[in-house]
Amino acid sequence: MAAIFSKTSDLILKVAGAVIGLGAVSGIAAFAYLSYPTVIDTGYQPKQPVAYSHKLHAGELGLNCYYCHSTVYKAAFAAVPGTEVCMGCHSQVRQASPRLEVVRQSYASGSPIHWVKVHDVPDYVFFNHQAHINAGVSCVTCHGRVDQMEEVKQVKPLNMAWCIDCHRNPAPNIRPADKVTQLDWVPDRPAEEIGREIIAQKHIDPPTNCSGCHR
């Protein structure tokens, strides 16, 4: 019987093995990179039903975050304001603006505006705004400079590694209670030093066990 494989088969096999091996390794590496939340989630900027500008309201007009998102100090969920909150001003200001058509309709009909949630952690994560805000974690830490955003987009990864980094070392992200909603606050001495003092004073001890965030 003639030989099935020629003498070059060994070489072909080695080359093919190397190519497949390298292909597999680079494929896994590419997949791992592309599937990380920092890559696929950061930059998420859905189209909202109303062209509401945070840059105008929170930045130029200087509205406090708390004015609209009024539950952050006392509830797990940061309330998205009802149409009535919008109309509190817009029944007086720019009553006829075509950009507010959806808001007026919603106010007239009583059916809420369907805002699209931007910062959406998985259902098995129980994030509590109240706990973070009262500890002195600023809005800007997780949401970025919303006061400079025309339309809100996700700028932080919001993945577990990112959460756990801060839970293990919260000092750099803890600031005085009155500065929490001041997104452009610049500490006058190292932020970590201020953070450590507040942590000592308020006995802040963020959980790093599973049931801290997953129940």
Binding site: I4, F5, S35, T38, N159, M160, A161, I164, D165
Partner: protein, 472 residues
Amino acid sequence: MSGVRQDPQLLGVNPPLVQGGRDYHDVTDDISSITEAKVYETPMKYWIALACTSSVVLVLGFMLSYLVANGIGVWGNNRPVGWAWDITNFVFWIGIGHAGTLISAILFLFRQKWRTSINRSAEAMTIFAVMCAGLFPLFHTGRPWRAAYWLFPIPNTDLNMWQNFRSPLIWDVFAVSTYATISVLFWFVGLVPDLATLRDRATGKMKQLVFGFLSLGWRGSARHWRNYEAGYMILAGLSTPLVLSVHSVVSFDFATSVIPGWHTTIFPPYFVAGAVFSGFAMVMTLLIICRYLLNLQNYITIKHLENMNKIILVTGSIVGYAYVTEFFIAWYSGNPYERFTFFNRAFGPYWWAYWSMMTCNVISPQFYWSKTLRRSVPFMFCLSIVVNIGMWFERFVIIATSLHRDFLPSSWGYFQPTWVDIMTFVGTFGLFLTMFLLFARFLPMIAISEVKGVLAVEKHLYSETQREEVYK
């Protein structure tokens, strides 16, 4: 000298392991012809069976896609029964695999020659069962593409956290992945000489290349055989502790917790016996089907089936003993919570599962005390299925009944599976049977070289005439 004195068949004890007077060439022909047959030469009943099972694989594919698309809320497990069908099915499938390892490793080390006709298919069954089992931990994460670093300690920038190495769940990951690796290696090493046989008989260029590649340059020289047998022995030695360790570690998932009904030291041996029990029942089911579909009655004889039934009887009795011991200890411990759990198991809302388990696992194998029933193919086929139903119920009973009565009565609940739970489990049967049928058709499902080893007992029957004389 006639064959009468020496031929054991005529003495009525220890009949030959290969029937029908097959000689060395016949063995090669019989087994290889299954894989070499043209599509129309393979019995139609085989293709019908394959069509049925592969349609069920599509169901599995749909269920898993549905799960990934919607999240694991489509399964019925929820507080207080956080572990339900997913882990029940995982333990069930892992258990099935144990017979393969026991047959290939332990029976090999104990020089049980009857293993040769069944070890290849039992090992294949092990691999397919482990694949089915692996689907459940993989998909219960809901995001299987991230499961690699959730299950294995792989450095990553997504969690910044290791697994909890004190948790038996991570031990389980290592136990099962070791088991899968060793099983595949063992199976493949055993296949090499037979793949070389197929290569040498192959007519098409493509077949030659494929089998030539897979047989790793096997030429059957004395040196090859020496290395092969040493390697096979080492793998058998490595597999032997796995028969005990894998299911022991699986049982730790429960035993190291503090749930009444789980927290018992009897679990490791009890789980291992149950695994071997269910595994042999599954080997039985599969071999009876394949024996019929591919006409292998000469190789998988009543003697083989009877031996397996004896193991089913032994392990089934151990399992029954374990059930009784659990109840005894629950009473003897004086712990009211433990007592409640076991009373509730038998007479609580899941009484039907408990009594199904008791009937199928404890009572049914006792029929095998009868030699007639032990040798009746239709009976053992039915009983092998009954045993596996019972063993599935065992896992369900352990898991669901221990969890549904939480520590606070206000948290008590009742688990019911959803249609996704049910169809996913049915789907894994499709995958398992399809893989097995494909294996039986495209690879030598009986170890040709090993079966020839047990033929040697008849070497004295050197001539055609003598053989005819003996076998009439």
